[in-house]
């Protein structure tokens, strides 16, 4: 049998399993409800913000420029910031926030992906029916697809809110909405890769849960700590260029690169080479994790 077909069969099973399990259904409902509530609150605060801006007499051009500068700093990439500033603000904020939720979703759905099968020895039913590497790849793609669908559900809810509130046209909403969701997919893949790799290391899911959670949190801490020196450098540079309209950006702090979400600055870039680099980094990282997991599972006794 073609390995791709083998993986496809495994992915279909993983999807069925995820969306039928209590854990999967609850997570989907909570994500969608949470996303809806968040979108509502955000929309309310956006109305207040717009009203305040209008009272202060800020023109739409000035607002756009502020958005550009803010997003350039947020993405640590002037071109990405300028490009994304054209998107409806609600969609941009939801994209950023949903990416922050992704590790939690991946952690909950993925920690027992392989460790659970090893613990209960269920993996033995697959031992003579699948190649070990395609089993791991099937688990990875299944988890990736599940998390991407959950993210899509969350994004789609916001699209409805944006269109209903007249924040943007239907075309703009769908165009930017899909772009944001597509940009989040390779980043979700990176989180899934780590989760599958760690899950392949342990026979006890609780250990996989603790290590995955611990690793995600550590990365987040390192990333956050990288912002301190970066903002200091940003301040210093802009003090040098006082009087200039454009924000001068220092190179990102090395510690920030460790965090998968950080690479959205490249994936969302309007510059093709940067976008491709972002895809290479994210897909390469995911592939390395899956290869590592495959190596572990193929070498170990099950």
């Amino acid at each position: 049998m073609n390995p791709l077909r083998e993986i496809w069969i495994l992915v279909l099973r993983e999807l069925r399993r995820s969306f039928r399990s209590v854990k999967g259904i609850l997570l989907l409902i909570l994500t969608v409800l949470g996303g809806g509530l968040f979108a509502h609150l955000l929309a309310q605060s956006d109305s207040v913000r717009k009203q305040q801006m209008a009272e202060k007499g800020l023109s739409p051009e000035m607002l756009l420029e502020m958005k550009r500068q803010l997003l350039a700093v947020w993405f640590t990439n002037a071109k990405t910031g300028e490009h994304v500033a054209n998107a409806p603000l609600l969609l941009t904020v939801v994209f950023a926030v949903s990416l922050w939720f992704v590790p939690a979703i991946v952690l909950i759905l993925g920690f027992d992906n392989i460790a659970g099968d090893l613990q209960h020895k269920s993996i033995r039913y697959w031992a003579l029916r699948t190649r070990r590497w395609s089993y791991v790849a099937g688990k990875f793609f299944g988890l990736w697809a599940t998390c991407s669908i959950v993210a899509l559900a969350m994004h789609a809810l916001i699209w409805i809110v944006v269109v209903a509130r007249g924040e943007a046209t239907f075309g703009e909403t769908i165009g930017w909405g899909f772009r944001f969701w597509l940009a989040s997919v390779p980043i979700i893949g990176m989180w899934c890769g780590v989760s599958v790799f760690i899950s392949s290391l342990f026979r006890w899911p609780i250990l996989a849960l603790l290590l995955t959670g611990g690793m995600f949190f550590t990365w987040w801490i390192i990333y956050i700590s990288g912002w301190g020196p970066h903002l200091a450098a940003l301040q210093a540079i802009n003090a040098e260029h006082a009087g200039s309209d454009a924000v001068a950006l220092p190179p990102p702090n090395a510690a920030m690169y460790i965090f998968p979400n950080f690479h959205d600055r490249l994936v969302l870039s309007p510059v093709l080479s940067e976008m491709l680099l972002g895809l290479v980094i994210s897909f390469g990282f995911s592939a390395a994790c899956v290869a590592g997991g495959s190596l572990v599972v193929s070498r170990r006794d099950i």
């Binding site: 495994l10 020895k121 269920s122 033995r124 003579l128 029916r129 699948t130 190649r131 099950i302």
Partner: protein, 330 residues
């Protein structure tokens, strides 16, 4: 068994032996060559060599810790041998592409995926075995009916009782009519009625495929198997046909009730080599030369002699019984 004979023939007549080897290869379903498995400092299986003929029912016998589950797990590809070679149908168990539709395995303690429905699980396994799409459903339903579970299609695996789960596990092992079926403790934990049904099912597969059964239940193995290997402390201490292992073609045992024990009359029978009497068990063991006469002829003559001498017969059996043989060897 015949391993030494084959090697000797190969030295004497290379080309003829090569042909013979090739032919015999086709007849060998599972081959283990000097297989060793160590877990840290502990050696679970130590230099085990086995050749299991295609089409037979083969038993792996031994007490706890003898290494039979480890040996079984290496055959199924769950464990990798530290040394030695395992081949199923001429392939390493890791060659899944060649074996996926040809080997079925019933692992001893592997739980079924709890959230999955029985039908979905079997369909998924069938798809991975490369059963044609239009036949997966029928094959899965047929094999489920074979284990007496045709009404379980829509039940979740988590809701199955131990006996039902065991039969679903057996169904997945038999799915797609594999050439080799490995069964680890197929009746462990089952009530006598279900265990009987499972045994009948295994018997019904006899001749259709090679069945390898690992079990503690010696009576069951004696009933089911054509051949067996007895393992103790990771080594094969005896192997051969059940008749060879139990010496069924070399001795008969006759239980006598209270009354005369005409040993001298039995000893005088021409085919009898030796006679032993166990007073505690009131059991007469008659040894004979298996090349000269078969057990049935000996039983006829011995019983006739005993009856003529007013002995009261309460039971007759061929050989020692697998249980006694295992007790002697382990």
């Amino acid at each position: 068994m015949s391993e030494n004979e084959t090697e000797t023939a190969a030295e004497a007549e290379p080309s003829a032996a090569k042909k013979k080897e090739k032919k015999s290869d086709a007849e060998i379903a599972v081959r283990l060559t000097k297989v060793t498995k160590r877990f840290g400092a502990k050696t679970a299986v130590d230099g085990v060599s086995l050749r299991i003929r295609a089409g037979c029912v083969y038993g792996l016998i031994g007490p706890n810790g003898a290494g039979k589950t480890t040996t079984f797990s290496m055959m199924a590809g769950f464990l990798k041998p530290t040394n030695g070679l395992v081949e199923i149908l001429g392939y390493s168990p890791l060659h899944t592409n060649e074996l996926r539709s040809r080997v079925g395995v019933l692992p001893q303690d592997a739980l079924l995926p709890a959230a999955e429905k029985v039908g979905e699980f079997l369909m998924h396994m069938g798809a991975l075995q490369d059963i044609p799409r239009d036949r997966i459903g029928t094959s899965a339903r047929d094999v489920l009916a074979e284990v007496d579970g045709k009404d379980w299609w829509n039940l979740r695996c988590s809701s199955l009782s131990h006996g039902m789960a065991k039969r679903v596990q057996l169904a997945q092992a038999l799915l797609g009519d594999p050439d080799v079926v490995l069964l680890d403790e197929p009746t462990a934990g089952l009530d006598p009625r279900v265990a009987y049904e499972v045994r009948q099912l295994i018997k019904s597969r006899k001749g259709r495929c090679t069945l390898i059964v690992s079990s503690h239940n010696l009576q069951e193995l004696e009933e089911l198997c054509d051949s067996a290997a007895i393992l103790d402390r990771g080594r094969v201490v005896a192997s051969g046909t059940i008749a060879e292992l139990t010496a069924a073609s070399e001795e008969v045992r006759i239980k006598l009730a209270e009354g005369p024990v005409p040993m001298a009359a039995v000893r005088e029978l021409p085919m009898v080599k030796r006679v032993e009497w166990d007073d505690e068990r009131r059991e007469l063991t008659v040894f004979f030369d298996r090349g000269a006469v078969d057990a049935e002829t000996v039983i006829g003559h011995v019983l006739w002699t005993l009856l003529q001498n007013q002995a009261r017969i309460s039971g007759v059996s061929k050989g020692r019984g697998l249980e006694q043989r295992v007790m002697e060897l382990t």
